[in-house]
Subunit: 132 residues, 2 copies
DNA sequence: GGCTAGAATGAGACTCATTCTCATTTAGAA
DNA sequence: TTCTAAATGAGAATGAGTCTCATTCTAGCC
């Protein structure tokens, strides 16, 4: 892990990410921080999120609309999520079966350096209750 | 399927997509078409790809970099791919196990309207040979 | 074949997420 | 405290994709 300086900006992003409880975009996070009086710059939020993700402190996924979403995730290892399209709440999934499937399939077709993207999106119970 | 008029532009996009043999971006496709003398507009390429995808004549995926990629795909039903990061070549996958896993997991967590994104990326044998 | 309504097109303006530039600030070691 | 490279922030730049709207063209009708 490359060296990082501890700036209040980096810490603020980390805190905001933890406070978000679910996947959020860089823009949302920046807005939240500004709304709470911070003067942090948008570019800095992007930089902090990139480094946090690099260091394994945050997970990132691509929303179906193309935006990148980030989340402060407890477990550090490789894993997958079930995400609420409406509020961003996420559940970690035990994906042992698909991990095995993915590596088997990759090998079978003679492809190297296999990576996989596996995400489930839906509407959580809470959001459904709200809408009804 | 909503009605579509047959224009040479739509046909050109369809043909270029078939000729591409793998996943390509709208921009690439547009460039290819222009290079071969066509005067087709970029917006039209986007519109044609969107309608072809809607009609099930093309598949689309999100590249890890965020760009949307399209491919003329034989089978019409729901399925997944193993894609070469380098040349876009793709294999269709039998993903019965993961389909079952996905629907089970969604239900278990009380989420509704589950959709899943499952894509494998790697480097195909041909591209590895080329690089070496 | 001509006529017409409405769909499709294309040039370019526009949006919006993300990255880059660069002058200024600051963390952290000495 | 001093110094230096890393980090920051404002705004410019990038780039995929969408939108607008005047013009063109398809397809059905005579
Ligand atoms: Zn929700
Ligand atoms: Zn995995
Ligand atoms: Zn390849
Ligand atoms: Zn599937």
């Amino acid at each position: 892990m490359k060296p990082r300086r501890n700036t209040w900006q980096r810490e603020a992003v980390r805190a905001a990410l933890v406070g978000a409880h679910g996947f959020v975009s860089a823009q949302q996070l920046h807005q939240t921080l500004r709304d709470s009086g911070s003067t942090i710059g948008l570019a800095t939020v992007y930089r902090a999120l990139a480094s946090l993700t690099e260091d394994g402190e945050a997970d990132s996924i691509q929303a179906p609309e193309g935006e990148n979403l980030f989340m402060s995730c407890g477990s550090t290892g490789h894993h997958h999520h079930l995400i609420c399209r409406s509020c961003g709440a996420a559940r970690e999934l035990d994906a042992t079966v698909v991990e095995e499937w993915a590596s088997k399939v990759g090998a079978e077709h003679g492809f190297a350096e296999i990576e996989h993207v596996i995400d489930l999106f839906g509407i959580c119970a809470a959001c459904r209750a709200k809408e009804a």
